[in-house]
């Protein structure tokens, strides 16, 4: 057969792909393609939808300012419908068929792990812009969310000083919760405190009556609760309903990441101590400008949350690195990222740690107040010390693992 089946196959696949995709405007390579995989429907879309909005906002800002390297940035976006199998599917589609230049996305750690190896094999730079459990060591990925050590190091001493030395930990039963609980334990002990109990809850547990009674039996001064998702929000509600709020202090490393504090009433939420990279109440010129352009694009700025800002900052960091590298070559991009690059985002200054590809950023200690997060103290430029203790991509660039950090 003179017709080469392989080329024919590729050709038809590409045309079929282009015909299906409404958001690919042109098939030729005169744009920079940014691939996005986010859960914008299904159970996790409370996180994913604002992230998608942040992505569109960042890209339109970049394009309005003339694009990158003289080209417009084009978004190729897929909705993974909160289904891990679709991450594998679209990861392949983005890299093999759409041949995007970079991928930003992934929300849960499982979704990141589902596509990380595909990105690595196809040499597609991958940005995972979400707060997570730490420990990923891979030259091809950049992560700019806060890690447990960054949060717990700030939150635990403050909360203990305010309440007392006996601490009870209630954590979500998955990777993030388990690892965060260990870090909290470490910092509690370092600060001369004592952990009187640790309990883990599957993500669909929504009845905390027995737990609240159990906590009272242990009589701690402080409860730290890295609980995740809609079902776990019930804990904060039931805690307040039982009248525990004024008896035992409450802190969390996750409450508010998806704007959960806006769901709780002021009486339920007030006084919960948290530590994040971003708060809508940050009164800085960068944040005010960001909120204004968000409002201009989407009407009002109430949807902004920690993850959306992380995503926005991740895309801006990538854009700065591309401009610095002067080409779309992967190694040039990585070198530019590793050059000590830093940007000024809505949440403050953020710079890339060349050793781990994680971020050095400001952590704000906050208290929930009237459905907002009042900033109490800013700890500038916190290093991702957890990942740094196991990962050195400068010394060992071929590393490709997610470390479980021994504490």
């Amino acid at each position: 057969m003179s017709l080469n089946r392989r080329t024919f196959l590729k050709g038809t696949a590409a045309t079929a792909g282009a015909a299906i995709l409404p958001n690919i405007l042109s098939a030729a390579g005169d744009t920079i393609k940014l691939g996005s995989v986010l859960d914008t429907s299904g159970g996790f879309d409370a996180y994913g939808k604002p992230m998608e909005m942040a992505l569109r906002l960042a890209v339109s800002e970049i394009n309005e300012a003339g694009g990158l390297l003289g080209k417009q940035v084009e978004v190729v976006a897929y909705d993974t419908q909160s289904d891990m199998a679709l991450y594998s599917q679209y990861g392949q589609q983005l890299t093999r068929e759409d041949k995007v230049d970079v991928v930003h996305g992934g929300i849960l750690s499982a979704s990141r792990e589902a596509i990380r190896q595909t990105m690595r094999k196809t040499n597609t730079p991958f940005f995972y812009n979400v707060l997570y459990e730490g420990g990923v060591c891979d030259r091809n990925i950049f992560i700019n969310g806060v890690t447990p050590a960054q949060q717990a190091a700030a939150l635990v001493p403050y909360a203990m000083e305010k309440t007392g030395k006996k601490v009870y930990i209630l954590a979500a039963d998955y990777n993030y919760g388990q690892i965060t609980a260990r870090w909290i334990q470490k910092f509690v002990e370092e600060n001369g405190g004592e952990v009187v109990g640790v309990d883990f809850f599957a993500l669909d547990v929504s009845d905390f009556g027995s737990t609240i009674a159990k906590v009272q039996t242990a009589a701690p001064d402080l409860v730290i609760a890295p609980l995740v998702g809609g079902a776990h929000l019930s804990f904060f509600r039931q805690w307040a309903a039982a009248g525990m709020k004024d008896r035992i202090g409450l802190a969390s490393t996750t409450m508010g990441v998806g704007n959960e504090h806006k769901v709780l009433t002021a009486e339920e939420g007030n006084g919960i101590m948290v530590a994040y990279n971003y708060s809508q109440e940050l009164d800085t010129p960068a944040n005010n400008a960001f909120k204004e352009s968000w409002s201009a694009a989407y009407g009002d700025s109430s949807a902004i949350h920690e993850l959306a800002v992380s995503h926005y900052q991740g895309i801006k960091t990538w854009a700065a690195a591309v401009a610095l590298a002067g080409s779309m070559d992967r190694d040039a991009l990585i070198n530019a990222m590793e050059s000590g690059l830093s940007i000024e985002g809505p949440a403050g200054n953020l710079s890339v740690d060349p050793q781990t590809h994680h971020a050095v950023l400001d952590v704000h200690l906050m208290e929930i107040e009237n459905q907002g997060m009042r900033v109490i103290e800013t700890l500038p430029q916190q290093q991702p010390i957890d990942t740094q203790s196991v990962c050195d991509l400068q010394a060992n660039p071929d590393d490709n693992t997610q470390y479980e950090i021994e504490i």
Binding site: M84, A85, A110, E113, A114
Partner: protein
């Protein structure tokens, strides 16, 4: 079912060869692979529900069990041949044990549904709560909610460094599905298969004729689980990560929806239902106009109301009405579906 077995095998081979050649021209092999895997999963439920009358709401349990068995074994053995075999055997044994418990406990129709559903939920909750470092099998961490990534994927038997992936993996999966299909056809043609259909139609009658219904149901259930397990192992190789969502209610629901849309009481219906709907789902993820859950819901309701027998039998009937002589078989099978509905209610 007219014609002889050898004719059946020939038809299967010709049709599948044609599809294996033609489909990659239209859809990427990576997408086709998952469609084939889902097709096999659909077939596994079609076999036990459509032909055996066993109402199973938890078919995803065996799919997930196969995938997890493969992943755990692959990490421990560092090659893929034994894990592939285990991924078929473990779900089959698990289902056999469960079947013994259910069928010897005289459980029928909707109660079977509840037990299979509950067993799946137990597996789901268990796997979901294994995030701690204490849950290890050999070298494999179970990983809880985040699942198990980074295991050895399919390799040429005997040579762990020769991976089968990409286009080659598509051909492997396609051939596997064709083989499973032929085996299922052979099974249904055998006396075992005919008796299974007899049991579905009227359990009392068959038991009065002296057949051991409980043993036969258990075996059929176990075969269905083995096929689902194989599909699970293939899925694990395709996605390169296994997560507890494989065991979820949503996954089980999807399998049933596929079978309903394709049509239960025939062999090709579940396969096409699965492949078609999974493809629609993939296409839907590329638009953001309408909520995707909404569309799947409407599809299901419309099918139950207007095409309760499923697409494939409906098309076949239409074909017969418009082009062929009305065959007795077609109208008979139509009545059979109706009776089944009544018998269950």
């Amino acid at each position: 079912m007219q014609g002889s077995m050898s004719k059946d095998v020939m038809t299967t081979l010709v049709v599948s060869a044609a599809l294996i050649w033609a489909l990659p021209l239209m859809v990427s092999t990576y997408t086709l692979t998952i469609l084939i895997i889902y097709g096999m999963l659909g077939l596994s439920l079609g076999l036990i529900w459509g032909f055996g009358g066993i109402i199973c709401f938890g078919q995803a349990a065996y799919f997930g069990l196969g995938a997890y068995t493969y992943a755990i074994a692959a990490i421990n053995f560092g090659e893929s041949t034994i894990p592939m075999l285990l991924a078929v055997i473990v779900p089959a044994i698990f289902a056999a044990l469960l079947g013994l418990m259910m069928f010897y406990g005289r459980l029928t129709d909707v109660y079977l549904g509840v037990i299979t559903l509950v067993v799946m939920l137990i597996l789901f909750k268990f796997i979901n709560s294994t995030a701690g470092p204490q849950y290890v099998i050999g070298n494999a961490r179970l990983g809880g909610y985040n699942g198990i990534p980074g295991f050895q994927t399919l390799n040429v038997p005997g040579d762990p460094s020769a991976y089968i992936w990409g286009d080659a993996y598509f051909y492997v999966c396609a051939v596997m599905l064709a083989l499973v299909f032929i085996l299922v056809s052979a099974l249904l043609r055998s006396s075992f298969g005919r008796i299974a259909v007899g049991i579905r139609e009227n359990e009392t009658r068959m038991s009065l004729m002296g057949y051991d219904i409980r043993a036969r149901k258990t075996i059929l259930f176990s075969i269905g689980a083995a096929i689902a397990g194989l599909a699970g192992a293939l899925f694990a190789n395709w996605s390169e990560i296994v997560t507890p969502s494989l065991f979820s209610l949503r996954q089980s629901a999807e399998i049933i929806i596929w079978c309903i849309v394709g049509g239960f009481s025939n062999r090709v219906g579940p396969i096409f239902g699965a492949a078609g709907l999974a493809y629609i789902k993939i296409l839907l993820g590329q638009q953001s106009m309408v909520d995707n859950t909404l569309i799947m819901g409407i599809i299901l309701v419309v099918f139950v109301l207007f095409l309760p027998k499923g697409l494939v039998p409906a098309v076949a009937e239409l074909w017969n009405i418009s082009f062929g002589r009305r065959k007795r078989g077609a109208s008979r099978s139509g009545r059979r579906v109706r009776n089944r509905g009544k018998a269950n209610g």
